[in-house]
Symmetry: C2
Subunit: 543 residues, 2 copies
Amino acid sequence: MVHSRIFNEGLDKNPGNFAPLSPLSFMAWAADVYPQRTAVVYGDRQISWQEVLRRCRRLASALTSLGVGVGDTVAVMAPNTPPMFEAHYGIPMTGAVINTLNTRLDSRTLAFMLEHGESKVLLTDTEYAKTIAPALQALDNPPVVIDVEDPLGPGGERLGKIEYEAFLEQGADDFAWQLPSEEWNAIALSYTSGTTGNPKGVVTHHRGAYLNAIGNIVTWAMPHFPVYLWTLPMFHCNGWCFPWTLAAVAGTSVCLRRVEPEVIFDLIKRHRVSHFCGAPVVHNMLINAPAQLRQGIEHRVKAMIAGAAPPRAVIEGVERIGVELTHVYGLTEVYGPAAVCAKHSEWDQLPIETRAALNGRQGVRYPMQEAMAVLDPETLEPVARDGQTIGEIFFRGNITMKGYLKNPGATQEAFAGGWFHTGDLAVIDEDGYVKIKDRSKDIIISGGENISTIEIEDVLYSHPSVLEAAVVAKPDEKWGEAPCAFVALKDGAEPVPEEELIEYCRQRLAHFKCPKKVVFGALPKTSTGKIQKNVLRGSARDV
Amino acid sequence: MVHSRIFNEGLDKNPGNFAPLSPLSFMAWAADVYPQRTAVVYGDRQISWQEVLRRCRRLASALTSLGVGVGDTVAVMAPNTPPMFEAHYGIPMTGAVINTLNTRLDSRTLAFMLEHGESKVLLTDTEYAKTIAPALQALDNPPVVIDVEDPLGPGGERLGKIEYEAFLEQGADDFAWQLPSEEWNAIALSYTSGTTGNPKGVVTHHRGAYLNAIGNIVTWAMPHFPVYLWTLPMFHCNGWCFPWTLAAVAGTSVCLRRVEPEVIFDLIKRHRVSHFCGAPVVHNMLINAPAQLRQGIEHRVKAMIAGAAPPRAVIEGVERIGVELTHVYGLTEVYGPAAVCAKHSEWDQLPIETRAALNGRQGVRYPMQEAMAVLDPETLEPVARDGQTIGEIFFRGNITMKGYLKNPGATQEAFAGGWFHTGDLAVIDEDGYVKIKDRSKDIIISGGENISTIEIEDVLYSHPSVLEAAVVAKPDEKWGEAPCAFVALKDGAEPVPEEELIEYCRQRLAHFKCPKKVVFGALPKTSTGKIQKNVLRGSARDV
C-alpha cells in the first residue's frame, strides 16, 4: 500500500538530520558554550572546558601518531586525576576503546586484562609501577607505555619512554576528532571481578554511554554547573558515565587521589561540592568520621549510593549528617547505575527508619532504560508483586552492554531469552519497586526456607557497636545450612558478647533467620572493596 | 586486520541491549513509577499517570479497530485539552503519525492539510465544527471524524458518528502497544505556515522527539514533578515536545482552552505552576495585565520564551514580574526549540538592560543538537565572530526533521550541503552566541547598509506607550529602501506624535536606521499570531 510509505520516501538520513549518539558531543558543547568555566579542579590546578578539550585533542592526536585508531584498546591505570578524566574523551576521540584498570588489582590479573583486551597503549600513574612492571613483563606483546607523573602523587618508577604531559605536547591542538561512524561502536571495555575464573570484559558503546550520561542528569535532576567530587573511582564502569554527564551540564570535576574523610570534607568545603557518588563503604567512612571534620559545611550536598544493598544504617546515617541521598543500583554490564529508588514526596512525612527502608530498595529503572523486571529465572515469567517471592533481576534496553569481549558463550548466556541476566535475586513490592534479597550464590537455605543474608546484615549494622557485618551459610546437620555472621566492631567500641548479638537479632528477626554463630574481626575484601563472602564461606565451615 | 574487529564480533544488537528510542517509553515509565501522581489537570478533573496511560491505550486500541496502523496519519484539531495531550501518545502507539492542526486556520487551508497528509481519522473539538465542516466537504476522501465534546468548551455541531469518550470506551485497556520498529519512523506531521504557496508538511521521527524531549529537561534543568501550564499550543511543533518531556519527569500538565491573563494567573496560583512556555505575545499579555491578577503568587515561576527575536522590553518586563526567563530559539523543522540563550552566572551582576540584551540572543545549540552555525549561505563558510557580519543560521544533528512530506525538492533544498537551512539571518558574537538580525525576506538594505528591522523594533518596544511594533522596508528613491514602522499603542496610552517616536529612535540608533515613517493602528497577524510583515510591506508602499 502506497499510503504507509509517504513517511519514508525522500525522507532519508543525511548529514543535516542525523548524527551518531556519542558523549564526545557533550565536551564539544561545554567547550563551545562555557569555554571559561572550570571543568576540572585538582589540587591548585583549574582546567577550563576550553583547555580540557584542547588537552583531550592533543591526547587523541598523540595516540593517533602511535597508530591508535578505530577499535583499538587503550588501557588506563590511574586514580581520579585529570589524566584519567581526559582519557575518557581523548581515547574515544581516536575511535579507540578506553579500558580503565582497577588500581587495586594484582599483576597477574592486570596482565590478563592487558593481553585479553589487546591494549596497544597503556597510560599508567607511576604510583602503580610496582604492580604494572611485572604485568608488562608477563606479556609477549606489551603495550606502549605512557607514564603519568603526578606531582601530587607518591612518585614511582617510570616504565615507558615518555611522560603524559610531554606526550600531550606531541599532539596537535586542533586535531580533527570525529564522532564514531556508528553509535553502536565500542567506547569502553571494563573487566568485572568475577568470583571464579577469569574476569569478563564488558564492552559498552557510544549510544549507551550517551544515554546513561543523560540518564544520570534526569534521574538525579541535576542542575547546571554541579560541582562533582570524584569519590567514585572512574575505573568503576567509567565512573558510572559521570565524566560524560558533567560535560552535558558544564559541571566541575573535583579530582582526588585518595578517598579519605579529611580530604573529602575539606574539598566539599573548599569547592562547595554539590554532588558525589560512592559505594556504601565511602558513605560509612563519612558517617563514622569525627564530627568536627564537617564543621563549616553549610550547603546541602547530594550523594548517590550504590552497591548490592546498602545497609539501612548507612542510609539513615548519611541523612543524619545532612546529605541528601539517592539510592541507585546497577552493575558494569548496565554502565553502572540503571535503576534508582525513585522517591515519592509522601515518603518525606515518614519516620527516618521507614524512609530508609523504602529508600533502601533497588527501585525502578532509569527513564532511559527500557525495562527492569524480577522474573523466574527458569520461565522468565514475572514473579508476584508481593515483596516475598524471590526471582532474578533482569534488564532490557539501551543501557545494557554490547556483550563480553571475545566470549560469545558468556554473552549469549547473559542475554538468553532477550533479557540481561544480572544474577541478583530480589523480590518486587506491590508498588513495582525491586528489593535485592541476595546475590544468587549468597542465599541461605535453611530448613527449606530461603533466608536473605542482607536482612540479617541490616539488623547487625543497626547495632551501635557494629562497623561492618557479613552473613554467609554455614553447613548445618539439622537444617542443611544456617546463617553465620562475621562482624567488625567500631574502633573504641565495647566488646560485645556473641550471645548478646544473637539475642539482638532474635528480637528483630524470625528466629530461624538469626545467626547461629558470630565471628569477630576484620572482614576480607576484594580490590574493589567488596566483602569476600567466598572467603568467609570457607571460614564458616571451620568455625 | 583482526584487531579492530574484536569489538564487533559476537557483540550484536539483541532484544536485551537495544530498543528504538521513542518518547512513548517515557509514559510507560511514569505510569510504572508514579502511577498515582497527577499527569493532567483540566478544570476540576485530575488524571493520574496510570489513568492517562489507560486512556491512551484505549485510544490506540480504538484507532487500530478503525484500521489505523503504521505510517497512517491521524489529525487533531483541538485546544490544549486532555484529548490533545492523549493524542500525542495514543496515536503513535498505533504506529501512526500525529498531525496537529492549527485551530486558527481557515477551512481551505485545513482541507489542503487533511488531503495532503492523507489523514485517515480526525479528532476535532466541536468548537471548530464551523471551520472543519467545509474543509471535510471539500475532500474526496474525508477522514473518519471523532468529535471531542468538551463540557468546558463553547459547544458546537458534531460532525462524526462518535464522540471521543465513547470512542475510548470501544478501546481495550490492555492494548499491547509497541515501540516503533525503527526509531527513524515518523511520529508527527506539522504544517508550517509558509508566507507563499502551500504549507509544507514537516515530518519528525521518534528518535528526534525522544532526544528533544530530554533536551528540554537538560537545557531547562527541569526538576522532578514540574507543574507545567499549557500556554503554548500543542499544535506548535507538538508543544515543543513537552507532552513527552513531562512524562520523563513525571510532571503535571495543566490544560486550558484559552490563553488569557485571568485564566493564566489563576491557574498559576491554584496549581502552583512551576513552568510555562510561550511566544513573546503571551509574555507581553502577562506583563500588561493588571497587577492585582498576580496577587497571591508567592512562588517562583520559570518560563521559556521563543519567537524570531523577543523584544528586549518583553524580556525585561517578564523578569520584572518575577518570572525567570529562558530564551530559546527554533522552528518546526527542529522540533521547536533546538537552541537556547544559555545563561552565564556572571550575567547576574549586570544591570537588567544589559542582561536582557545578552539574554535576547538566540544563543547556542541544545546539548542534544549536534551543531548550529552562522554561515555564508553561498559558500557555507562560517562568518566572522564579530557580531556584525550577517549570515544564515544552519542546524545539523538529531533534532532536525526527516524532511518535508511528499516534497523531495524542498527537502533537498532545505538540506543542501549537509546542513538544515533556517532562512533566518543572524550574526554571531565573539562568545559564539547567535543573534538573529532578520528573517531573510525582512532585511532592509538602505544606502548599501544592511538594517535589521529587529533592532529598530527593539527600540520602539522600549517606548512606554508602545504595545507592538513592526518595521518593514519602504521603497525610497534616494536610499533604495527605508525603514517604515507600524505601531500599536497600549490601551489608554496617550497618543504619541510620529515625530516624537522617530526622535526617540534617533536618540538610540544610528540615524540611517531610524524609521522614515510611522503608521499607527492594530497590526495584521497570521493564525499563529505572527505579525504579517508581507501585508505591512504592501501597506508601506502606499503610505
